[in-house]
């Protein structure tokens, strides 16, 4: 079971009215390396991964939902009061025609989210390497997004999310080390 907590993981601030940026941020909402794909990937892998790393997948998968809410908050704030004209000028005309100001699980190019973004190989090493790659790809995406805005408050939230990808990648690497050890490991350095 999951319990929702009525607060964000990190204080998200957006200080510039810039719906154009919302279109790009959607990449991390419904894109292939986005937070939704990450959360569902890890939580789905739990059922077939060795018991020792189920706790880690559960916790990182859960944290990804907190990150999904942060991205949603950024997109919400950037589009909440945007006029139709502003949405169109921001390249969100096609989005507006279908969804108005509703968020949609799509990437920056408007391609809907698909379960095909998530590999599930059933081999623990293959799955964890996929997770490490996913974290590095998300880190790269956050770098490109940071470069696309000059709003320092928005950059601040994106930098937090980028740093989290680095920690997650580290933990997944440690999970591989734990599985590589033949017997119960105490510590591997």
């Amino acid at each position: 079971m999951w319990i929702y907590e009525k607060k964000l993981q990190y204080p998200v601030r957006v200080s510039k009215c810039d719906p154009r940026m919302a279109k790009f941020l959607i990449e991390q909402y419904g894109g292939s390396d986005g937070e939704l794909a990450a959360a569902l990937r890890y939580l789905n892998q739990r059922y077939t991964i060795p018991d020792k790393v189920i706790g880690l997948l559960t916790d990182i998968g859960t944290e990804e939902f907190a990150h999904l809410e942060m991205i949603a908050t950024m997109v919400y704030k950037l589009t909440k009061d945007a006029t139709v004209q502003q949405m169109e000028a921001a390249g969100l005309g096609a989005h507006f025609a279908n969804h108005n100001r509703a968020l949609f699980y799509e990437n920056a190019a408007g391609v809907p989210w698909t379960a095909a973004y998530i590999a599930a190989k059933g081999d623990p090493i293959a799955d964890l390497y996929e997770d490490i790659a996913a974290e590095e790809k998300a880190r790269a995406t956050y770098q490109w997004l940071i470069e696309m805005t000059d709003d320092v408050d928005l950059q601040d939230g994106l930098k937090f999310l980028r740093q989290r990808e680095i920690i997650h990648a580290q933990r997944f690497k440690e999970a591989v080390e734990i599985l590589k050890a033949e017997k119960d490991v105490k510590k591997v350095f």
């Binding site: 319990i3 929702y4 907590e5 009525k6 607060k7 964000l8 204080p11 916790d59 809410e69």
Partner: protein
């Protein structure tokens, strides 16, 4: 019903987010280092601190959790604004 969001609200929320962040970091660390006694001690210490902060926050600004994990005054406070993305 719109409650005023003053500096005190943001300060307390940030204190809670701070304590919770330490707990997230230690949680992931302990997932791959379950034998680290010192980290576990720090985890338990911050868990106590976050409980105090959460109780204080809920008293002033309403429940953080649903499904019976938080108390509510009348009328049921869960449905009240603001929601996290609105502040």
């Amino acid at each position: 019903m719109q409650k005023p969001l003053d500096d005190a609200y943001y300060r307390l929320l940030c204190e809670l987010q701070t304590a919770d962040f330490v707990l997230v970091e230690l949680s992931l660390f302990l997932d791959t280092h379950p034998q680290d006694m010192e980290a576990l001690r720090q985890f338990n210490q911050f868990e106590q601190k976050r409980q105090q902060l959460a109780a204080q926050y809920e008293l002033q600004y309403g429940p953080l959790l649903q499904f019976g994990h938080s108390f509510s005054r009348y009328p049921f406070q869960w449905v009240e604004t603001p929601w996290p993305w609105q502040v």
